[in-house]
């Protein structure tokens, strides 16, 4: 009994009080800021350096849906590109994941694009089924972490369930392999309407480093409406949590 008490005492209070404002390491690679002064030759050099073609050759903007957050562009020209530790980078439109030179504004959801029924039905409780379709198990670890003693996303009634028939939506990780394409579709079909789709991690959003592999089948993403994109490599638990809260309109 005494031993238990000792462990509990060391354990202390673990949960993060405010999931909106929790500080993370200054080194965390979140939303990038690109200087408006970036030159054409600098854009040329970093866009050819980028391992996943996330930097647009013309405009120099960075697509967070493609970015693997290796930060090499920033190491190459630190005075022109820097990665802030702003983890709130999830959005419901693909366009808002594109960070333009000169822009310091945060990534936010487009409120008007959130389907009416999502807020109405799921704000009080949201049950999700997770499917890993070629995920490398880093996003899966982070999604698991959203329910652990630290992040405790369950406090909002938002959690993962075992059966798609108990779920209100699906969270996909991984670039979606040919060998998982059918299982993913079957799982999605088993979820009752209305249902949402969340893509977690760069691999799921664009295929990431695997994007041109012939072993993928990304029909699922092309054919369905995506309700939330959660960038990251892997997506940080707080990126996911804040994205889902924004989508549901939780303050």
């Amino acid at each position: 009994m005494l031993k238990e008490i000792r462990v509990l005492k060391s354990h202390g209070r673990q949960y993060i009080k405010n999931l909106r404002t929790q500080p993370v390491s200054g080194l965390f690679r979140g939303r990038p800021v690109i200087s408006g002064e970036i030159t054409t030759s600098e854009i040329d050099s970093v866009s050819s350096l980028c391992p996943v073609m996330a930097i647009d050759k013309k405009s120099g903007s960075i697509d967070l849906g493609r970015c693997v957050f290796c930060k090499e562009c920033s190491f190459a020209i630190p005075e022109k590109i820097r990665f802030t530790n702003d983890y709130r980078i999830a959005s419901n439109t693909r366009e808002s994941l594109i960070i333009k030179p000169g822009s310091e504004s945060p990534v936010r959801l487009n409120e008007n694009m959130v389907r009416k029924e999502i807020k109405k039905l799921f704000r009080g409780a949201l049950k999700l089924r997770q499917v890993s379709a070629g995920g490398d198990n880093s996003c899966e670890l982070e999604l698991n972490a959203t329910g652990n003693v630290n992040f405790d996303f369950g406090r909002y009634g938002i959690e993962f369930v075992a059966s798609p028939r108990h779920a209100d939506g699906i969270v996909v990780t991984g670039p979606i392999t040919e060998n998982m394409a059918e299982a993913l579709q079957i799982c999605y079909d088993s979820i009752p309407e209305p249902k949402i789709i969340i893509l977690a991690g760069t691999d799921a959003i664009s295929g990431g480093i695997f994007s041109n592999s012939p072993a993928l089948n990304r029909k699922f993403v092309e054919e369905h409406h995506i309700d939330l994109y959660v960038p990251g490599n892997p997506a940080h638990p707080l990126t996911y949590i804040n994205g889902v809260m924004d989508m549901l309109g939780i303050q």
């Binding site: 462990v7 957050f69 290796c70 930060k71 198990n137 999604l143 003693v149 059966s163 480093i209 592999s213």
Partner: protein
């Protein structure tokens, strides 16, 4: 060299040889030599794969000799229209998985192999008429038995794979594991992605829970192929990173094992401790799983005084609390009842399947690359691996506790060593390295699961023309299948968790 044998020795890890120096044996001698070598308990096969070179098929084998600390390489060559070969598996069972892989990729049949069951249904497999949804499995015809099919999607947030239990009542007679759902074509992508940065990012995504392990295996390989010798400081930092990854995952797995037997205090306490370790990794390099931390030729995140102090403080707090918590866990009789004598893998069976890493070390097999083929800072360290005998869930849980303590003490001694070195700026990563042409490079890393093996062959222009990856899981999945035989099906979750194998590492 042993008498009458023909092979070339790679004396260091990572190491390389000129492809032209690798002895070519006729198939009969190849088989005989392989059988002779693998008879010794000190030798095991690191990799065996086929490389298409013009009109010839070259089969390379790499064997680790733990006593001499060397890697033995030799090959045999066959015409491109080859249909069938005699199986080596008949004489040394651990080869079964490699022959299955070669057969699936090339269509070559191995006569006498017990079952050339497809390994992962790769996109470029030889027989496209087969599909993963229709995989073959072992059947028992009986009115008293039934099958339980699970997957590819499982109940939790985990990777996909198909498990088919053949049961008699609650008892599992056989577990059939079919993988391949995670196949992303990683090995081929290593040839297509020409930039070293792309290859580095790719290596970290082979298995994201082992980003540092696989990232290091690639970085070592890139360096040896380019004749780069990493700085001593850099080697120490990488070794610290690798041991931190081991600590984090082992603590996380301890939490999950407690969770599977509904021991909530152990689960919560360990979850929180894992968080400390991965957040500390994030404080070091900006990523919780350590992506971006290991790079060839240098680092973007050299350890500076403040971060060293921070890591030391966080890890000693973690270690103290982990000891406190495991003292509870391993004295909880309810938990011990579930763990002890559950999912036993005998030493003989572990040898047969070629088990590596923790799975081998819990069956009394001393197999640890840190000790047998030391790399990075382990070269200057006398690392003695933990070894247990029972091969049950309890042993696989306990070895994690022991290894966390070992990792912690290794990290501490490395920090001390670092403090004794002269202050020096470590290079930035070098993405312009040029690989030497016509070489075979080999890199071994003891990741938290076990032995990671990366092999690359370069062409005359120094481009990678063959890349071969072996995650420890490739061997150990079979150990899991054997562990659950004659067990209650309800014990599967703890058996599975006690191995915690990689799906994407196997599927590539």
């Amino acid at each position: 060299m042993m008498e009458g044998m023909k092979y070339i020795e790679i004396v260091q890890n990572p190491g390389k040889v000129a492809v032209s120096d690798i002895p070519l044996l006729d198939y009969a001698s190849f088989m005989k030599q392989t059988e002779e070598l693998l008879k010794k308990s000190s030798c095991h096969c690191l990799n065996y794969f086929m490389h298409r070179s013009g009109k010839q098929l070259i089969f390379y084998i790499l064997i680790a000799n733990d006593d001499s600390h060397k890697i033995l390489v030799y090959s045999h060559s066959q015409p491109a229209d080859l249909m069938s070969l005699e199986s080596i598996t008949r004489y040394c069972f651990p080869m079964h998985i490699f022959e299955r892989e070669i057969s699936e990729n090339t269509g070559i049949s191995f006569s006498g192999h017990p079952w050339l069951k497809p390994l992962r249904y790769p996109h470029d497999r030889s027989d496209k008429s087969t599909a993963i949804s229709d995989y073959p499995f072992y059947k028992i015809e009986s009115e008293e038995t039934h099958e339980v099919g699970v997957g590819p999607i499982h109940a939790g947030i985990i990777e996909p794979g198909h498990f088919r239990f053949l049961c008699h009542g609650e008892k599992v007679l056989h577990l059939e594991i079919q993988l391949g759902y995670q196949h992303r074509g990683v090995e081929k992508l290593f040839l297509e992605k020409k930039s070293l940065l792309q290859q580095s990012v790719l290596s970290e995504s082979i298995a994201g829970d082992t980003a540092i392990g696989h990232g290091l295996a690639f970085a070592q390989l890139a360096e040896i192929l380019s004749d780069i010798i990493p700085d001593e400081r850099l080697e120490i930092e990488r070794t610290i990173a690798l041991e931190m990854e081991r600590m984090a995952v082992h603590i996380g797995d301890t939490a999950a094992l407690c969770g599977d037997v509904a021991y909530q205090l152990g689960q919560s306490a360990c979850e929180a401790l894992r968080t400390i370790v991965i957040n500390t990794t994030q404080d070091w390099c900006g990523n919780r799983v350590g992506k971006g931390l290991v790079r060839a030729g240098g680092t973007n995140y050299p350890l500076i005084r403040d971060i060293i102090d921070h890591i030391r403080e966080r890890l000693s707090e973690t270690n103290r609390r982990f000891l406190e918590t495991t003292d509870l866990i391993f004295n909880n009789s309810g938990l011990l009842t579930r763990f002890e004598n559950t999912g036993v893998v005998s030493q003989n069976r572990a040898h047969l399947v070629g088990a590596v890493g923790m799975a081998a070390r819990t069956c009394g097999i001393n197999r640890d690359i840190r000790n047998s083929h030391p790399f990075q800072a382990y070269r200057n360290m006398d690392y003695t691996p933990a070894k247990l005998e029972h091969g049950d869930v309890f042993a696989r849980a306990l070895i994690r506790k022991i290894e966390v303590e070992l990792s912690f003490s290794v990290i501490n001694s490395l920090f001390d060593k670092l403090a004794g070195l002269p202050e020096k700026r470590i290079n930035k990563p070098d993405y312009l390295l040029e690989y030497k042409p016509c070489m075979m490079g080999v890199s071994l890393v003891e990741g938290w699961r076990g032995e990671i093996c990366h092999v690359a062959i370069t062409d005359i222009d120094g481009n990678i023309e063959h890349y071969k990856i072996k995650d420890p899981s490739m061997h150990n999945w079979m150990a899991l299948a054997l562990a659950v035989r004659n067990q209650e099906i309800s014990d599967f979750p703890i058996c599975n968790k006690s191995f915690d194998l990689s799906y994407c590492g196997n599927d590539l």
